[in-house]
């Protein structure tokens, strides 16, 4: 691991009208690291990574990439800077073909006199190839995404982000809608991507998923950072407690057999 | 001085024929120093028109001028206005008998069926046996009466000879062309106003039949006048809308001021405008003619 973080967010605050969604959150991501962001519902995880990805502008706070302060006007800028995101709500359009989804927003073009046209052949070829590399055999590149399964869609989204040279890959609960086998697949993919030196921000509710692939863990609670810990510093149970506020949990879980 | 009259027509907002009447009432208003308001149902819905008449009566004007687009619909509201002591003059469509029954002072106009019949007689004299009635406003009852009168004068069934042309000029032109192509024995055309006349002229020009087919139209416009001159159109039926706007204002003003009123209804039309008398008309076509 290098010493300067790929991306560093410092004391980010974000307010929506009367709702204070983030109230001072700091997180950094190193190359090749999988940084897990944990937290209860509404803790502000999605809001935080949307800020990182240029969807929201922080109300206050600083974003640094490779040590330099940056400000993203829109998701395109963040993407161009190497921050790619696979959203919880997926950002896939079911009515459109896999290729068109794969390239959406960054379509390859070919000059033709003064005009620039889509380079469909190239787009199709690369899409098929990248999907095959991720272990998915497409019927045809113009197959609609609506005909894929949920796990396959996640994989398309991840493959897209990786292909476009993401330096930081943000995954917002990629496993929440998936079954066990598909989850394992996605976790394996994360592992593979991490090994190529990409920094990963992995958001989840599920402590076990986090423990499986995470190198560092940050827990958010009601818009604030509760703390950051390296792998091995924490037991799953401790993480669980931090996420939900220990006392209450203990009481409940005892009545249910302590296995929650 | 400063009396207020209301003219209520049945025409939708966009009907261009009524411009002449609007111009006439503006002129008459200026000359007599009275205000004349023009009102109409925006979509041409006669039920709305009845409401407007009721509303006009409620606003207490010195007189109401209205068309009898449909006697059944308008009898009630107009009779009400008369009963309130508001002098009413009917214009344009409707008959003198209907006007009397309502209790209006007089009627200035041209009954639609009779006008169509008159046109038909001219066409018959010219040897028309099979015709096309281009109806751009088929949902309006008066329009059907014109075609019906024309057919009756020729002594033929109306049948499919009246087409629902719609209001889009491109489509009207195409429909006329299509009809003429499939019914090559057609030797007469009746259009019901500028909306249908202009595209029909274009259609005849495009198919080279201009002048070959006996062509009559209702109402006038610059284009129609030009077509009358070059022989594409044989006659235009002019009901002299200017008079329908101008006269009632004058009559009502004089009634209000001096209590005088003519004893009889006035037929403003039909006047037939042909090549012979077009010169007079042309200058003001679409504005005062």
């Amino acid at each position: 691991m290098a010493d300067t973080p790929l991306i560093e967010l410092i004391d980010i605050k974000k307010q929506f009208g009367p709702v204070i969604a983030l109230n001072g959150v700091s997180v950094s991501v190193m190359p090749g690291e999988c940084h897990c962001l944990l937290g209860d519902n509404g803790a502000g995880k999605s809001t935080f990574i949307k800020t990182m990805a240029g969807v929201h502008k922080p109300t206050s706070g600083e974003i640094r990439m490779n040590g330099k302060s940056v400000s993203f006007a829109d998701p395109r800028e963040a993407m161009n800077a190497g921050v790619a995101t696979v959203y919880q709500d997926l950002a896939m359009i079911p009515l459109m073909s896999v290729t068109r989804n794969f390239w959406m927003g960054r379509e390859p073009r070919r000059r033709f006199g003064p005009f620039q046209f889509l380079d469909m052949d190239r787009a199709n070829r690369i899409t098929l190839e990248e999907m095959r590399r991720m272990g998915i055999q497409l019927r045809a590149p113009d197959q609609a995404v609506g005909t894929l399964s949920g796990g396959e869609r996640q994989t398309v989204a991840i493959a897209r982000a990786v292909y476009f040279g993401a330096k930081v890959l943000i995954l917002d609960e990629p496993t929440s809608a998936l079954g066990v086998r598909q989850t394992a697949n996605v976790l394996a993919t994360i592992d593979r991507v991490r090994k190529t030196g990409v920094g990963i921000v992995f958001i989840t509710h599920n402590v076990r998923h986090a423990m499986a692939v995470g190198d560092r863990f940050t827990v958010l609670n009601r818009g604030k950072t509760l703390g950051t810990a390296l792998k091995g510093e924490l037991q799953p149970e401790q993480l669980q407690d931090m996420m939900a506020g220990g006392a209450e949990m203990a009481e409940l879980s005892s009545s249910l057999g302590g296995t929650v | 001085e400063g009396e207020r009259f209301v003219l209520v027509s049945h025409a939708p907002d966009s009907d261009s024929w009524w411009n002449t009447i609007k111009n006439a009432i503006a002129l008459a208003g200026e000359q007599m120093d009275v205000t004349v308001e023009y009102r109409n149902p925006p979509t041409g819905d006669l039920a709305d028109m009845a409401r407007i008449i009721e509303q006009a009566a409620a606003s207490g004007p010195n007189g109401i001028i209205a068309t009898i687009a449909d006697f059944d619909v308008l009898k009630g509201p107009l009779a009400d206005a008369v009963d309130r002591g508001i002098p009413v003059i009917t214009i344009n469509s409707g008959t003198v008998e209907q006007s009397k029954e309502i209790g209006a002072l007089l009627h200035v106009g041209q009954p639609e069926y009779d006008a169509g019949f008159g046109a038909g007689e001219q066409a018959k004299a010219a040897g028309v046996t099979s015709f096309l009635c281009v109806n751009h406003y088929i949902t309006n009852p008066a329009s059907v009466e014109r075609c019906q009168g024309f057919a009756d004068a020729l002594g033929v069934e109306l049948g499919n000879q009246m087409i629902d042309a719609g209001q889009d000029p491109g489509e009207i032109q195409s429909k006329v062309a299509a009809y003429l192509q499939t019914n090559p024995d057609t030797n007469g055309i009746l259009t019901l106003g500028p909306t249908s006349a202009h595209p029909t002229i274009a259609a005849l020009n495009a198919t080279g039949q201009a002048g070959a087919i006996f062509f009559g139209t209702f109402d006038l416009s610059t284009e129609i006048a030009a077509a009358v001159k070059d022989g594409t159109i044989n006659f235009a039926i002019d009901q002299q809308p200017f008079l329908q706007g101008y006269l009632p204002v004058v009559v009502l003003t004089n009634l209000a001021r001096y209590g005088v009123v003519p004893g009889n209804s006035i037929n403003s039309g039909p006047g037939f405008i042909t090549k012979d008398n077009i010169a007079l008309v042309e200058q003001y076509a679409g504005q005062y003619r």
Binding site: - | D45, E54, Q55, G85
Partner: protein, 374 residues
């Protein structure tokens, strides 16, 4: 489900409290109420002296508003149930022609013609609904098709049987018919005679009705409007079926899961919309004594506009009959008021468009406050 709204009910330090006053005022009809007040103030100023607020003036815009209200009520319930009906206008023309054709042309007794028209119209409404439900197509498309089909049939029927697009003589045919008076007559005349005697409303000055009050009764049209508003309001807010209407429009799948017969509810609302259109047509035909093929043109838009001004959500599940009725009132007052105020009549549409935009922006804001929608 994924991004949850702020958990308002449990005290949450992250949400600033809303004032209770604001919440007390926040109702679906609020926008329409504010609009109504504004519109009345406006016309009181610009047209106060023109007789717009005399007895006959009030009757004038009252009747126009009642007309709008009749179709707005139907459109309102249907819209809340999550669908809409572009064929209302064509249905008005169609039902009118059916009544006139049967009674005048075929010589049926008037009551039978009216009932037949209701049956036919409601069957067509049911067919609309059935198609929407069975094919899953948007009601925009299905009823757009009916708009064309019905208008075409109306013209075709009247032309092919009578060679006219207007059929008169209905009043004569309706003479003494018991059902016809339910649509054509006026009621409560004695009150107005009494009011006139007391000098509180004007009387005719001349003509064969001199001495009679200028308003001699409340037309059945208004009675129908009021009855429909009350009926629909009670149905919507006070009955089980009303809850189902909201549920069907709010989320048809969810409603279906808990046992709400969504299909029946939606079809019933299409039928009700056709029913309202037929009432409109029957009143019009009886009042004016004739039916014409162009009746009701663009009325579908006017109904939708009144409902939307009244605070209903175009996509269903939210709205109120009172709001729709106020929307119809605004519509009627503005339309007739502009005449009273002597404004160039072509500007009416401009006004209407602007009012629609403003109302809908205000309503959206109010709705978000109420439902937590984002």
């Amino acid at each position: 489900m994924v991004d949850q709204p702020p958990g308002a009910p449990t005290a949450d330090e992250r949400v600033q409290r809303q004032s209770t006053l604001r919440r007390a005022f926040v109702r679906p009809e609020l926008g329409a109420m504010a609009g109504t007040v504004l519109v009345f103030i406006y016309f009181a100023i610009v047209a106060g002296g023109t007789g717009m607020f005399a007895a006959d003036g009030i009757m004038n815009w009252g009747v126009v508003s009642a007309q709008f209200a009749i179709i707005a009520v139907g459109a309102c319930l249907l819209m809340i149930a999550g669908e809409f009906d572009l064929s209302v206008g064509s249905m008005i023309g169609f039902a009118g022609i059916v009544i006139a054709l049967l009674s005048v042309h075929l010589g049926w007794p008037m009551w039978a013609s009216i009932i037949a028209a209701f049956i036919v119209a409601m069957l067509i409404g049911a067919a609309n609904g059935y198609l929407v439900i069975k094919t899953g197509l948007p009601s925009f498309i299905v009823t757009l098709a009916s708009l064309y089909i019905l208008r075409g049939l109306t013209i075709y029927l009247s032309i092919s049987t009578t060679r006219q697009t207007i059929i008169g003589g209905v009043r004569e045919a309706a003479q003494g018919d018991w059902l016809a008076t339910l649509f054509g007559g006026k009621v409560l005349g004695f009150i107005f005679y009494w009011l006139a005697d007391m000098g509180w409303i004007a009387t005719f000055q001349a003509g064969n009705r001199a001495g009679q009050p200028v308003v001699d009764g409340i037309p059945m049209l208004m009675i129908w409007a009021i009855a429909l508003i009350i009926f629909a309001h009670v149905l919507l807010t006070r009955t089980r079926f009303g809850n189902w209407i909201y549920a069907a429009g709010g989320d048809a799948k969810a409603a279906r899961y808990v046992g709400v017969p969504v299909d029946r509810v939606k079809i019933a609302m299409f039928v009700f919309s056709a029913f309202c259109a037929t009432i409109f047509a029957a009143c019009q035909v009886m009042e004016f004594g004739s039916a014409a093929a162009d009746r009701g043109l663009l009325k579908e838009f006017e109904a939708i506009i009144a409902v939307v001004i009244g605070g209903a959500l175009l996509t269903g599940g939210y709205g109120s009959v009172i709001g729709a009725a106020l929307g119809a009132l605004i519509f009627g007052v503005v339309q007739q008021g502009l005449f009273f105020a002597g404004v160039e009549s072509s500007l009416f549409r401009v006004f209407l468009g602007v009012i629609l935009l403003l109302a809908v922006i205000l309503n959206t804001y109010i709705r978000r406050l109420i439902t937590g929608e984002r």
